[in-house]
Amino acid sequence: MVATSTNPQGSTPIFRRKLQLPFPLNIYQSSIGRKWVMALTGIGLLGFVIVHMIGNFHIYEGPVQLHEYAETLRGLGGGLFPRTFLLWLLRIGLAGMFLLHIHSAYSLKERSRKASDKADFVGGEKKYGSKRDYVAANYASRTMRWTGPIVLLYLLFHLADLTWGWWLGDDYVLGDPYHNVVASLSSLPVAIIYVVATVALSIHIFHGTWSLFQSLGINNPKYNDLRRTLAKLIAGIVLVGNLSFPVLVTAKLIDDDNRKCEVGDVACLEHEAEKH
């Protein structure tokens, strides 16, 4: 009999290496690199979430200040850039980060599914026939692939709701975000959507904040415990801060009463803002 080299079945690669792209695209070809991109875009998006939330706190100062804040955003860059130029740059950057974040997440999920699926003789999505007994994986980490899409759907809803004003119809007043927010959140179903989305976002952020340290390899036993604390802190702030809007509107603590300017009177808002 001819001597043959035993090549165990398990030695056959499942994922073929594709052609190596030039630097830095080759980083994105590996799943570790993709996690790295996911973490970096996560940081960017997290920054956006926090800044966006803090900006929205102007709502508590009143319609004028919120309008003024919106104007400041449009005028970012001062005399250096044309009006709304920098804002658009940020928007495009944000959209890019979103796309990368989503693409890396989706492609890695697919990859993991493929790495497990042939093992699946039991049926369904389950890797094992017995009840899986998770020890370390918490609710947040296991639901990233659910909280992510929820946040995405919410985001589309949110844009349609307050940026494009699709269903507020005549009640949507361009340039009066205060009114728009109040008008939208006054509807209980909408408020519930905001609450659900905020909870999902916070859960997503809780695991994401801890996880990004791992993915980026930022690690030192001296401060490793702080990573969990930080994750809890940030998730908590995002949760409480963003929940405050629908809750307070629903509780009628924020409403259109006692406004100095009439709803729809954008010129009045601008005038008041200038007096500041």
Partner: protein
């Protein structure tokens, strides 16, 4: 009386290896790739040999029955590895390690081999450290040493309690590097079934793929057997479940002499068996004896818990009998004394099959943290297995079979009596004499693989340049394959009633009772009548469900147990003929008034090497006389 040529080089013992290296024929670097070498077994010895040979340029085929070379049982060695580095400045030297090893082996090893072993021990440490083996270090970043069973200097390098694991991983990684470079063709889950000879020379092997059941032939210019020891003949031992003698034994059946099979080592610190179905005994590092005190209750059948037995009613029998060495007497002495007290009825534990190893004094002296840092993992392991906490209650220990000094006879070049067939590591008989010192097994396995065989194999190969390997369609291979098929078919068609494990267990009981820690003429003769009877039953009453064309661990075990039967008979015969006590071979008839082993240097200062004469006749005993020019033969005394 000179069938056996040990090829020991001339000259003073300290120069022999140097001289030999110089006089050994060399194979030109460009010609090495023309030689194919088969290495069977990928433990410490096999992996290190395969890697080193491949680095030199030889084409290597490595075989293991495991799913990965990293599983070999070398991985379980805990304590450490000796190296005559004298980093501790306590008077160690190559000569002292040589001396200690010859003495520890009870003057039944070859001086020249042992000296070579001591010489290369320092290179092993260097090699391992460079490979990244995470040896224990001191705060200055330099290597730490400890003293180990039987040694009065600190020359043992260690990596927590997992030295064997780390050294094996080092060798495995060196092997992996060569596999990736194409220098080694690695065959996993493949077991050797036969060594094939053509014109009296080893020309290849026959293997069985354990997954597909396929029987195949592999040819090479040389065959290296690095297949470990035969401790599993006892069924219960500290060996892994799959350890076996099959490769060595099949070589023996083809003409390799088998030397000193009665030299088996008992390890004094194992966890006693808890019931009949126990599948193996777990060893705890002997280093525990550095700080633990061994005792039994004074009273017979004392059922009190150890904490209730006051110091005055305890017998610290090793400290009492051997004041100089105390709890650190050599393994065989410690083991036999444990057997003596247990046989007296002073044993502890439910089955009364152990003695206490007590850390109370050490914890009091150094604190629990210090003890934990030294032995933490061993204590955890003990607690996990027994459910008892050794920080609070003494451990129970009892000896178990651990290592076999006997093995395939090899000359100074590590070649067996089959030209072209080599044996290295525990599989050969060479360096430990009748008893092995602690922390010397890792040393010998790696010495053979890294630093001896790669030199000595060239001596034979150099003269064979241009010779092609025997093609695997040669009739010698066809015949060997047919023989392998025959045996498999025979096993599968017995259709009896008992499992392989049942026979193995029964065989183990006989071997442990009569060829165990203490042997007598009567017992050995009894073994020689009981083993063949059981063997006959095995061939009539074995039941092997399943097929030979798939993974079938019963079939694998059947082949191994069949060889154990034949080996056990030879062990008894060897023990019977060796009318003396030495090292791991203790004949009750030959002991001093103090109960110590009584050697007979006049008549037995030799190696007994057995020649196979066919399945139906008894092997012939050959002798290789041992001469001691550098170490004076003394009666061991550890008082």
């Amino acid at each position: 009386m000179t069938v056996l040529n040990s090829k020991i080089p001339d000259g003073p013992v300290a120069d022999k290896w140097e001289n030999h290296k110089f006089s050994t024929k060399l194979v030109n670097p460009n010609n090495k790739r023309r030689f194919e070498i088969i290495v069977v077994g990928t433990g410490l010895a096999g992996a290190s040999a395969a890697a080193s040979l491949s680095e030199l340029g030889y084409k290597v085929k490595a075989f293991t029955f495991h799913d990965s070379p990293r599983r070999a049982h070398s991985i379980a060695a805990q304590g450490g590895i000796n190296g005559a580095k004298n980093y501790t400045n306590d008077g160690d030297s190559v000569h002292r390690l040589f001396y200690d090893t010859v003495k520890g082996g009870d003057y039944r090893s070859r001086e020249a081999n042992v000296h070579r072993l001591a010489e290369v021990s320092v290179n092993i440490i260097d090699q391992a450290a460079a490979q990244g083996v995470p040896f224990a270090r001191e705060y200055g970043g330099l290597l730490d040493n400890r003293s180990f069973g039987g040694a009065q200097v600190s020359r043992t390098f260690y990596a927590r309690g997992q030295t064997g694991q780390q050294l094996l991983l080092g060798a495995y990684q060196a092997l992996a590097k060569q596999v990736a470079s194409g220098g080694i063709e690695l065959h996993t889950r493949t077991e050797l079934l036969d060594v094939v000879l053509k014109d009296g020379r080893a020309c290849g092997i026959v293997t069985r793929d354990l997954v597909s059941g396929e029987v195949a032939s592999h040819s090479g210019h040389a065959v290296v057997l690095a297949t470990g020891g035969y401790g599993n003949v006892y069924y219960l031992s500290t060996n892994a479940m799959a350890c076996n003698v099959t490769a060595a034994w099949r070589a023996h059946r083809k003409g390799a002499f088998f030397a000193n099979p009665c030299y088996t080592q008992i390890h004094p610190t194992c966890i006693p068996a808890s019931d009949e179905f126990q599948s193996k005994l777990t060893l705890m590092s002997e280093s525990l004896r550095n700080d633990g005190r061994i005792w039994v209750p004074d009273a017979f059948d004392d059922t009190r818990s150890p904490s209730q037995i006051p110091d005055s009613e305890r017998d610290y029998y090793l400290e009492r009998k051997y004041p100089a060495f105390g709890n650190l007497v050599p393994r065989d002495v410690a083991s036999r004394n444990a057997k003596t007290v247990v046989d007296q009825g002073k044993g502890v534990g439910t089955l009364k099959n152990g003695v206490y190893l007590d850390f109370e004094a050490a914890i009091e002296r150094d604190g629990e943290a210090a003890v934990r840092s030294k032995y933490g993992n061993l204590f955890d392991m003990y607690q996990n297995i027994t459910g008892e906490n050794p920080y609070q209650t003494p451990m129970r220990i009892y000896p178990a079979i651990h290592y076999t000094m006997g093995g395939v006879w090899v000359d100074y070049n590590l070649m067996t009596t089959i030209p072209g067939c080599y044996s290295i590591g525990e599989a050969n008989f060479s360096d430990h004499g009748a008893n092995r010192l602690g922390a010397s097994a890792l040393m010998q396995g790696l010495a053979d693989g890294y630093f001896v065989l790669p030199y000595t194999i060239g001596d034979d190969l150099a003269g064979r340049l241009g010779e092609a390997t025997v093609p695997t369609d040669d009739p010698v291979f066809a015949e060997a394959e047919a023989g392998a098929h025959d045996q498999i078919n025979r096993f599968m068609s017995i259709g009896g009633t008992r499992s392989v494990d049942w026979f193995h267990r029964e065989l183990g009981k006989i071997v442990w009772d009569y060829i165990g820690m203490e042997r007598t003429r009567e017992g050995l003769e009894k073994a020689l009548s009981e083993i063949p009877a059981l063997e006959e039953e095995f061939w009539k009453d074995l039941r092997l469900p399943g097929s030979a064309a798939t993974l079938n661990s019963g079939l694998e075990k059947a082949g191994r147990v069949a060889d154990f039967f034949e080996l056990a008979k030879l062990m008894a015969r060897d023990g019977l003929d060796r009318e003396e006590s030495c090292g791991g071979h203790f004949r009750a008839e030959h002991q001093t008034d103090e109960g110590e082993a009584q050697r007979d240097d006049e008549n037995f200062a030799h190696v007994a090497a057995w020649e196979w004469n066919g399945a139906d006749s008894v092997q012939t005993r050959h002798q290789e006389e041992l001469t001691f020019e550098n170490v004076a033969l003394t009666q061991r005394s550890y008082k």
